[in-house]
């Protein structure tokens, strides 16, 4: 039930890279892909991303488990683009108001591939980045305020607890005669009541945690870090990899003539 917020068992090379360099590489790739709807740049980026799977310790099964909403969204987006986009070229399917032509199909596939190619790096990043390391990097390297970063990290630990609490409150309320079954209105009312109960408990937990943190000296000015967030040669490779992936995608699309800047219209 409780989600683990660490990467136990994942020994893949990319887990050792600094989260900031991974972030930078992902940003570069997604920024380039956001510029153009075309199937070439998206496919090139996708191919690279699949090659990176073993380096991030990700498998297809894990990918589906963690990223299925994104994958479905990309597929649905592609489908609707291919039937709704302005038609051009030969008509492939014509069912009343729905028509799919060669042009709209190409646009739809491009849209789907692009959606996947933009979403996958995020899944890759999360599967090889421990939240604690991310917090270390954000506070020490990116110089974000440590109060904010560590507060968020500590609060994230409570999120898993909240899932358990939700279930308990639901049972406790049923034991009081509040049904969570029945008509939609009844269920909505029950859910609202349960949410309020959860909110009360969340606030109480959070204030106790805040007392714990303050009693351990949190919130003062200067603090040291038991673990230093460092950059290594690996991070140079990560950045270089990001540049190569983004660059190859652009070059391939431009040289094949499919590069299609979003804001310039088609």
């Amino acid at each position: 039930m409780r989600q683990e917020l660490n990467l136990r068992g994942n020994q893949a090379p990319l887990t050792r890279a600094n989260p900031l360099s991974k972030f930078a590489a992902v940003f570069l790739i997604t920024a380039v892909l956001a510029l153009s709807i075309d199937w070439v740049s998206a496919s090139v980026a996708l191919a690279f991303e699949f090659l990176l799977f073993p380096l991030a310790g990700l498998t297809l099964t894990l990918l589906w488990q963690r990223g299925w909403p994104l994958i479905l969204a990309a597929a649905v987006g592609g489908w609707s683009t291919s039937i709704l986009a302005p038609d051009s070229g030969r008509t492939l399917i014509d069912v009343g108001i729905w028509t799919m032509s060669e042009g709209s199909l190409e646009l739809g596939i491009g849209f789907m591939l692009r959606g996947l190619a933009i979403a996958l790096p995020a899944v890759l990043l999360m599967s090889c980045t421990d939240p604690t390391d991310l917090a270390d990097a954000l506070a020490q390297k990116a110089r974000l305020p440590h109060r904010f970063v560590l507060g968020t990290l500590a609060a994230m630990r409570l999120v898993g607890l909240m899932a358990e609490e939700w279930q308990t409150i639901g049972m406790a309320r049923r034991a009081r005669g509040v049904g969570s079954r029945g008509s939609a209105v009844q269920r909505l009312k029950a859910t609202l009541g349960q949410s309020f109960g959860l909110l009360v408990q969340a606030i109480r937990r959070a204030s106790r945690l805040a007392v714990t943190m303050e009693a351990r000296g949190f919130g003062g000015g200067r603090r040291t870090w038991a673990r230093e967030s460092t950059f290594s040669a690996l991070d140079a490779w990560v950045l270089a990899g990001g540049v190569v992936m983004a660059g190859t995608a652009v070059v391939a699309a431009v040289s094949l003539g499919t590069w299609n800047m979003v804001w310039l219209g088609s």
Binding site: P131, A175, G179, R204, E214
Partner: protein
């Protein structure tokens, strides 16, 4: 992450002194002060057990000493409207601003852990005090050693620890700050008996080593008596009375005031409160069968999907059989994590069995069907009532009276019973109060009363005596014995051997759950 020499720096801990002169504190938005007129002197290195009825301001005092009073109010009140009188000093200076001089441990283990890796969590306090990096890791290793957790790897997830381990981890985090004053606010109230001793012994070892001053608040005197050298009993302060009622060495205080302390609900050693005896304890197996569990496998997890695959639920316990009979008590005992509560909740129709079945006899179901899990909520509450460990989880209104009327109103009958319950559980003077503002004992009594208002034939209670003072304990046991004699079946999940003995009946002992590979 280097692992520098483990005992390189041995900065001696300087024990702290505490001085209170006419100190008082009123929380924002409250009419009465939580502490009033406190005069107290604690010498460096002393170990003090703080006793007193709820409402005497014990927690307020600990929070003030830790320097965290005022900023964050548990009730969300505006701290700027709170009120301080007199003076409270640690080493002659106000506690606020002396970060790291005192370390505080609270009751709820979940909120005593800050970070998700064992090593990071212990290091957290030392980092905040700007201790140099190498020195931090030396302190972390030493502190984990002192609390007996050195066998865990530094990146061990804190979520995988037991309650007792979490509290020991919190103690290690406190020790790594090298505080001169250790403050424990009911550190073992939520733990099973093994966890209680684990934490107590770890505290003892650390004090012997560092010589730090200790102030601990606990109901259970016997646990801490041999570890402390002074007992201070507080009372709710008033304009005329001093806040300190009694003060002296443990044996002397306990000898002088044993009766008075027991009457105030303190668990003095060797004292088991009188409870009402069962009138003619029926033999096991007699009484009408109401509910039966057959080869039950239980789990809190619901079957879930991961992608297209259905992940089977791994039960925490399996093959449990039990019978619940009218007028009979059934105690479910066993170590933490054995799945006792999960079993009780399944029996009570709140969780779906993973395997096996729970069946209600016609006597109990009266036409609602055989499987309690399938009953509607209104059908459930007049057949099986469940009292949860945390009373607040069950509050559904903003007023004590409405809480009690809630069940009867839903059912459309039984409102006349409410007055009797209010009277019987001494809640009559609180009818207009908000349930969340009650004391621990009052909340417990209210949660029992609300469930009983629906007049269930089976009552299931999850750790009803956890953290309760001796008076509430005795009231509860006597009240349940009355219910049993009246023909109600009482199922309780409990670690409390005296409570089990007071109710009689049968015991279902569950073994520790075997770890199953995921």
């Amino acid at each position: 992450m280097g692992a520098p020499s483990r005992h390189e720096e041995s900065v001696a801990v300087r024990p702290a002194a505490v001085t209170a002169r006419g100190w008082g504190w009123r929380h924002a938005g409250r009419a009465k002060p939580a502490v009033r007129g406190l005069d107290l002197e604690i010498r460096p290195g002393e170990r003090v057990l703080l006793l007193g009825p709820s409402g005497a301001g014990k927690s307020t005092l600990l929070h003030a000493l830790a320097g965290v009073l005022g900023d964050i109010d548990d009730d969300g009140g505006d701290a700027s409207e709170s009120d301080e009188t007199g003076s409270l000093l640690v080493d002659g200076a106000v506690p606020r601003g002396q970060r790291g001089r005192a370390g505080l441990m609270q009751q709820d283990p979940e909120t005593q852990v800050v970070l998700s890796r064992v090593g990071d969590d212990v290091a957290f306090g030392a980092e905040n005090l700007a201790v140099p990096r190498d020195a931090i890791w030396a302190r972390v290793h030493e502190a984990l050693d002192d609390v007996g957790l050195s066998h865990l790897p530094l990146d061990h997830p804190t979520s995988a620890l037991s309650g007792g381990q979490k509290q020991r981890l919190a103690l290690a985090g406190i020790l790594a700050m090298r505080p001169g004053l250790i403050l424990l606010d009911e550190p073992t109230a939520n733990l099973d008996p093994a966890g209680v001793l684990e934490v107590r012994d770890a505290v003892g070892r650390c004090l012997d080593k560092t010589g730090a001053t200790l102030v601990v608040v606990e109901h259970r005197v016997s646990v801490w008596k041999d570890l402390v050298d002074r007992i201070v009993v507080l009372q709710p302060g008033s304009a005329t009375d001093d806040a300190v009622l009694l003060d002296g060495p443990p044996d002397q205080v306990l000898a002088d005031a044993r009766t008075m302390l027991a009457a105030a609900g303190v668990w003095v050693p060797g004292y088991v409160p009188e409870t009402r005896a069962r009138s003619g304890n029926p033999a096991a197996g007699s009484g009408d069968l109401l509910l039966a569990a057959e080869h039950l496998a239980v789990s809190r997890e619901r079957p879930r999907r991961s992608g297209f695959r259905k992940v089977p639920t791994v039960p925490v316990q399996h093959d449990i059989s039990a019978q619940v009979r009218a007028g009979q008590a059934l105690a479910i005992t066993g170590p933490n994590g054995a799945g006792k509560s999960t079993f009780a909740l399944t029996l009570a129709g709140l969780l779906e069995p993973v395997a096996g079945k729970v069946s209600a006899t016609l006597d109990l179901s009266r036409g609602a069907g055989i499987d309690p899990y399938k009953w509607k909520a209104e059908q459930l509450i007049e057949r099986i009532g469940t009292v949860f460990q945390e009373p607040e989880h069950q509050f559904v209104t903003g007023k004590v009276l409405d809480e009690l009327l809630f069940g009867p109103r839903h059912l459309g009958h039984g409102e006349e019973r409410v007055d009797e319950l209010l009277e019987r559980l001494r809640l009559t003077h609180l009818v207009d109060a908000n349930p969340y503002t009650l004391s621990g004992g009052e909340k417990r009594r209210l949660s029992v009363a609300t469930v009983l208002a629906a007049h269930p034939r089976v009552l299931v209670l999850d750790e009803p005596t956890f953290g309760q003072d001796a008076n509430t304990w005795a009231e509860l046991a006597s009240f349940l014995s009355e219910l049993l004699d009246g023909g109600t079946a009482v199922v309780s999940v409990t670690h409390d051997a005296e409570f089990t003995a007071a109710l009689g009946g049968t015991e279902l002992r569950m073994a520790a759950a075997e770890p199953v590979a995921p």
